[in-house]
Structure formats: structure tokens, C-alpha cells
Amino acid sequence: MVIHRLRLLVLSVVLSVTASAYGQAGDSALRVEGAWARRAPMMSGDSKAGSGNGAVYATLVNPGKQLDALVAAASDAAGTVEIHESYQDMGMMMMRPVGKIEVPPGGKVEMKPGGYHIMLLNLKHDLKAGQTVNVTLQFQKTGKISVKAEIK
């Protein structure tokens, strides 16, 4: 009887601890999931094309009740970092810089090849498959979130 009551007590403590851990991590906080970068070479830099470019992708998840937006990004692997979008028009692949990517409340935005991406300009080193690249995403409301993007 005593043992059973103890078991119940232990179980309930474990459950409540687990619940609070999850609560802190992500009730309503914006998350950056599955960040990855395309492998890319650093170029010699003797051409007008600069030292090479790369792209980082991630899924932005906003479980909260307020609209948030990715407004800037930075990385120690690149001279300049911009938010861009590729899109198709009449069979042509276009690319343009975008000021921000809005993430609606309760929604998510998947950045992926041929769509939204974080463009790394003037790479400072090769982006080699199997390694990671540090990227800091700046959100309008949430502020900065740093992630390690897996290079594939």
C-alpha cells in the first residue's frame, strides 16, 4: 500500500517536471527547426562574383498568438547575409531580396530551395558537407535566435 502510494507520488513528480520542462521550452515561443545549409565553395575572390555565396534554410514555427517576422540574419561564415526569395514566373526562376518573412500566429513558414532562403554573400570559408555553420536569425518580436545549420 505504502509502496503503491510512493510509486504514484514519484510518477506524478516525474510527470509534472516533464510538463514544466516542455512548457518552458515551447508553449508559445517561436522556434527555428531543421536549419540546414547547401554545401558551397569559397571562391578565390579574384572575380567580380566575390568569394562565393551560399544559402541557409529552416522552418520557422510560431505557436504563439502574435504575428512575428524574420527581419535579418547574420553568420560568421559570410561577409553579408540577406533574406531572399526565389520564385518562378513564366518558366523563369527569379530571385529577389525580401525585407522580412512573416510567420503568422499558430503557423509556420518553410524556407526551402526554390523559395525563401537566407543568402550568405562573400563566404569566408567553404561550406563543407557534414560540418555546421552558425546563423543568427533576428525576429521582430522574439529577438535573436542562434542555430547551427547542418551543411548538406
Partner: protein
């Protein structure tokens, strides 16, 4: 000029769509009937004069893009490299030819260094503006350069993103749209090598 190219491109897409329905053997849009791929002579990133007809006997994947491009072009090149790896012993009979849409920034060396990162067998091509214009026109490739004040990039290049598959006889057989998987591309290359 622009309208004529747009019309040509629309025709190619219609033909590709119609062909795909009639010929399920290929996973990409097919040309039905196939026509000879227009030959050209450009400067190859391997340092030689690059004539398309040099690759008779192989399946050629002919793509257009530029090394400054961070998203669409490297995605296509990674897929083509992965497709080549899936060919096994047939990889000797597959050649990727990548024509720049940005000759101002893509020197022979730039193309060579860039493509080597994806696959050492890939060959890039550039040329004079006139030579390149002829190739773009022959293949219905649209290009437009645009500068954005919001970007530190001097300019970006909008361009057609499909890849042509040319069979060992030098005939244009398929149009691979952006985003097609490496497995699908490898499947089509193998199918064209068998004929």
C-alpha cells in the same frame, strides 16, 4: 524579341506536357517528335573550344545558370551530381554542360572552380555576348539582369531554370523542370542511354 521567346517557351512547355502524357517512359517532359539539339561553339571551362556535338554518344544534361546564384543553381547542380552517382558504370556516358547566364562575372576559371565543387566532370561554358545570345535563343532560355537597392549584390540574374536532356544521337529529348529528384533524372538518363 521577348514576346517571341515567351511564345517559344510556351510552345516548348505545351509540347513537353503533351509528350509526357503520351510517353510515360520518361519522368520529365519529352519532346515529341525529338529535334536535333542546336549545336554551338563556346569557351569550355576545361580550357578548350566547347562544341556540343563533341559529346555525341553520351547523354548530355544542358543547364543554364550562374555561380553567384546561391539557391536554385546549386540545388540543380547537386541534383545532377547525385544523379550521376546513381548511374554506376553508365556515368562515363553522361555529361553535364553548364552554360553561364552571367558572362560578366563567370570567367572560365570561375566556372571551372565552381563546378569542380559539385562534380569534377561537369563542364562550364561561356563566350562572347553574341555567341551566348545565340545559344540562349536556340534553347528558348530567358535571362534578365536586375539590381536591387535592398541587396549588396551588384545585380541578380533571373533565368530559365530547366535542364535539357540530349540523347547520344544529339537529339533534344527531355526538359527537366527545377526540383526534379536525382532519382528521376538518373532514371531518364538511363532510359535515353538504352535506346
Amino acid at each position: 524579341m521577348y514576346h517571341r521567346l515567351t511564345a517559344l517557351l510556351a510552345l516548348v512547355f505545351l509540347a513537353a506536357a503533351a509528350g509526357a502524357a503520351e510517353n510515360p517512359a520518361l519522368k520529365s517532359g519529352v519532346f515529341n517528335p525529338p529535334r536535333m539539339a542546336p549545336d554551338f561553339s563556346l569557351r569550355g571551362s576545361d580550357g578548350t573550344e566547347l562544341k556540343l556535338s563533341r559529346y555525341r554518344g553520351k547523354v548530355v544534361a544542358l543547364g543554364f545558370g550562374y555561380t553567384f546564384c546561391p539557391d536554385v543553381c546549386p540545388t540543380t547542380l547537386v541534383d545532377l551530381a547525385a544523379a550521376r552517382k546513381k548511374l554506376g558504370a553508365d556515368d562515363e556516358n553522361f555529361q553535364v554542360v553548364y552554360v553561364t547566364v552571367d558572362p560578366e562575372r563567370d570567367s572560365v576559371k570561375q566556372l571551372r572552380d565552381y563546378l569542380a565543387h559539385f562534380d569534377p566532370t561537369f563542364v562550364g561554358a561561356t563566350g562572347t555576348p553574341e555567341q551566348l545570345a545565340g545559344v540562349y535563343k536556340a534553347y528558348g532560355v530567358l535571362i534578365s539582369k536586375k539590381a536591387y537597392k535592398e541587396s549588396k549584390a551588384a545585380y541578380l540574374v533571373h533565368h530559365s531554370s530547366f535542364v535539357y536532356l540530349i540523347d547520344p544521337e544529339g537529339k533534344q529529348r527531355a526538359l527537366v523542370p527545377f526540383g526534379r529528384s536525382a532519382s528521376d533524372i538518373a532514371h531518364d538518363v538511363k532510359a535515353l542511354l538504352k535506346r
